[in-house]
Structures are given as structure tokens and as C-alpha cells.
């Protein structure tokens, strides 16, 4: 059996829907870093990020039948699964409590030290592209995308009208598009 080094998107999706474990391994190798970055940027917690990444790939494997290529690329689909899982975790009671306890105790995490060689998650991926945006645009994207706030919640917390929130998010996204790597 030949082992393809790369798959086209169509081949990959077909293989995944056929429950091809090799294709799944390729999917992991190819996309795990990007998904992991988003998860880490949302959660800011290495251990929980590991758990969520595992959960995300398990869900990808289980829900691959529901993926519709007509509605977008597979990466977009996976990215949304990863972001939703992260925000669900972020908003879960036990995570918030654990976060609070951690902040209170200020204990030294030795695992953190072993990960110190890793890049700062604040300046890679989508965050890097956001750096070029105006502060008020960065703020709404931070709240909407990384914290998972609804438009109404942003309007409430930032004390700006709902309509302004909507237009500010769209303007921010238009700017963001210009700052992304161009193909």
C-alpha cells in the first residue's frame, strides 16, 4: 500500500469519512499545531489545552460524517470545533474555579518550566495578525473571538450601543483580512 505524503483536501476528506486512521494521523500532524495555538490562546492553561485538543480531535473523528465541504474548508470546520470547545471549557465552572485557585496560590508549575522553550502564544497565529489592528478593534475581537462574548454582552460590558459593536466587529474583520498572510 502506498503511503501518500500529502493529500489534497478532497482526498483527505474522503479518506477521513472512510475512517482511514492514516489520514487521521496526517490530519493531526498537519493541523494540530494551529488548533493547539488557538486553544492555548483562549484557555492560557497548558494542561487543560492538552485535554481540549484531545477532545477536539476525538470530536473531529466522530463527527466527520457531518462535515459538508460545500459550506467551507475542513480547516475552518475544525477551527470552529476547537474554538467552541475552548470557550465551553473557559466558561465551565470548574475551569473558572481552578483558574481562581491558581491565581490565589501562585504556585510554581514545574511543567511550565519545561514548556518555557515554547513560543509566546500571544504573538503567533491569529494574534499576530491582530497586532496590526487599532486598539478598539483588537478589543472587540478579543472579547468576541477569544472570550466568546455575544454582541449583547460586549455592548453591556464596554458600555457601547449594540449597533456600534456589530459595525466595529465587521470593521475589525475587514482590517484583519488585510493583515492576514495573502495567498
Amino acid at each position: 500500500m502506498s503511503i501518500p505524503a500529502t493529500y489534497s483536501e478532497e482526498q483527505l476528506v474522503l479518506a477521513l469519512k472512510n475512517r482511514d486512521r492514516q489520514a487521521f494521523g496526517y490530519l493531526y500532524d498537519h493541523y494540530s499545531a494551529a488548533l493547539y495555538t488557538i486553544i492555548r490562546q483562549i484557555l492560557r492553561d497548558p494542561d487543560r489545552s492538552d485535554d481540549v485538543l484531545q477532545e477536539v480531535f476525538t470530536n473531529i473523528w466522530r463527527k466527520i460524517e457531518t462535515y459538508d465541504p460545500e459550506k467551507g474548508r475542513i480547516f475552518t470546520w475544525m477551527l470552529n470545533i476547537a474554538r467552541n470547545a475552548s470557550i465551553d471549557t473557559l466558561r465551565s465552572k470548574d475551569f473558572r474555579q481552578a483558574r481562581q485557585n491558581q491565581e490565589l496560590s501562585e504556585t510554581v508549575d514545574f511543567r511550565m518550566e519545561s514548556r518555557a522553550v515554547q513560543p509566546n502564544f500571544d504573538h503567533i497565529g491569529l494574534r499576530k495578525a491582530l497586532e496590526g489592528l487599532r486598539p478598539e478593534y483588537r478589543e472587540v475581537i478579543e472579547l468576541a473571538y477569544y472570550k466568546g462574548y455575544t454582541h449583547e454582552e460586549i455592548a453591556d460590558s464596554a458600555k457601547i450601543p449594540l449597533g456600534t459593536v456589530k459595525t466595529r466587529i465587521r470593521s475589525a474583520l475587514i482590517q484583519l483580512r488585510a493583515h492576514l498572510r495573502q495567498t
Binding site: 472512510n18 475512517r19 482511514d20 486512521r21 487521521f24 494521523g25 493531526y28 500532524d29 498537519h30 493541523y31 494540530s32 499545531a33 494551529a34 493547539y36 495555538t37 488557538i38 492555548r40 489545552s49 492538552d50 485538543l53 484531545q54 480531535f57 476525538t58 473523528w61 466522530r62 460524517e65 460545500e70 459550506k71 467551507g72 474548508r73 480547516f75 475552518t76 477551527l79 470552529n80 474554538r83 467552541n84 515554547q118 513560543p119 502564544f121 503567533i124 497565529g125 491569529l126 499576530k128 495578525a129 468576541a144 473571538y145 454582541h151 466587529i169 465587521r170 470593521s171 475589525a172 474583520l173 475587514i174 484583519l176 483580512r177 492576514l180 498572510r181 495573502q182 495567498t183
Partner: protein, 272 residues
Amino acid sequence: MNLEEYISSGLIESCVLGLASPEELEEFEKMCASHEVVREARKRFELSLEMQLLESTAKPPVELKERVLNGLENSGLKPSRGNHAPKAQALTPLPGSVWLRYAAAACLVLLLGSTGLNIYFFTQYKAYIFKYDQLLGSQTQMLQASQAMQTKLGDYQASLDLMRDPSMTVVKMPGTAPHPGSLTTVYWDSRSKDVYLLINQLPQPAADKQYQLWALVDGRPVDAGVFDLDSPSLVKMKNIPLAQAFAVTLEKRGGSNKPTMEAMYVMGKVAG
């Protein structure tokens, strides 16, 4: 809003990133389905986003890949090639949850059974407690009756032994003229000089009266003690060293110093 305006509005980006409302998403899907240019704009943004994120150098821990791949076996879906029926898979619950469900059902059945048995046993327990109390009561009664019988039997035995004793002098005391039916008997121990009285027949006295036994010593009455009629066997009286005759009179309760001669019921002379 024309197509160009729609494409440059930021709506496409907000839908791709998951920041759009359900209504906006629904409209977006319609636009994609009907307009090639919208699809292309979407694909452009998706690709540039993908490029931006894929350049990430922040790889997850190496050991996590093995954990993820091993986790697939536990996710309830056996990895294999070929077509799968997604619906059947979706309806197949996790093995763990099936087991748990059966375990929960079994626990419920056991709980109900246990509760039923508890009620049954408690009812039985109450019934047995009642019966036990009844038995305990009747056993106590029987024990008391048995003790009373033994006491009586002991009395009779002792009386019989006295009567059987060859050294006993028996003095029959028949009724006097006014009381012809009355009769008592004195058993007088010739060695110890103890006096025992057997009441054969005497009328029931008034409550403030009591019978008194007298010994006649050289024509003089000597008090030998008072007695009641309820004694079933021999009644031990006072020790009388010497007497020629015995008599019983009815006196005031507690006895008198001198016998009331009119109230003499029985009298008997000592033989010899």
C-alpha cells in the same frame, strides 16, 4: 446590499470565524449557494486564515498525539475502512453508558426488592415481638404459679412429715356443745414440746376477731398463740412444756390474756 457590498461588509469573515448570528449565517449560506463570487471570497478568506494559523510553530506536546490516537478506540467507534452507516453509529450508545444503564436498572430493581423485603421483614418482626411478649407474660405467670405450688407442696410435705412422726402426741379437739361441727387437732412433739395445730373445721370469724389456742396446765389456761383460718396445713403454735388439755376460743384480734369461756369452740384432753 449588492454583491460587492456584501463581500466587503465583513459578514463573510464573521461567518467563517463563527462570530455571526444564526440569521446572518443562514443568509450567508444562501448567498454562497447562489453566488460563485461569494464562495470565492469565502475561500480566499479561509485560505489566508489557514495560512496564517498553519505557520504556527507552537506544536502540542509530542506524547499528545499517541493519547489522541489511542483515545479514538475509546470513543466508541471502531476504526476501519469501508462505508459506515452514520445513523446506526449515532444510535449506538457508548459501551460504558450501556453498562452503566444496565447497572443502574439492576440497582433500581435491587433497591425496590430490598425495600419490599424490608417492609415484609419489619411486619414479621412486629408480629414476633407481640407473640414474644405474650409468651413472656404467660411464662411469668406459669413460673409464679409453679413457685406457689412448690411452696404449698413444701408446706404439705413438712406437715405430713410432722404428722407421720411417731413421737407426736395427737390431741383431737371436738366441738363444744354450742359448736358441734367444729374440730381441730393438736400435734404435740413429745421431745421438743412444739405444738402444731391442724384446723379441721371452724366457722369463719368476724374481721375483728381471731381464734386463740390455750393449753390447760393444772386447771390454768396458758396462751399458746392466735391463728387465722387461711393456713392450709399445720400451724406452728407456741412451745408448751406441759399440758393436760387444749382448747380454742374466739377472742378479739391479737388475742387475750384470759380465755372467754363462753366463746370456746373446741376442746380436747391429752391422752394418758
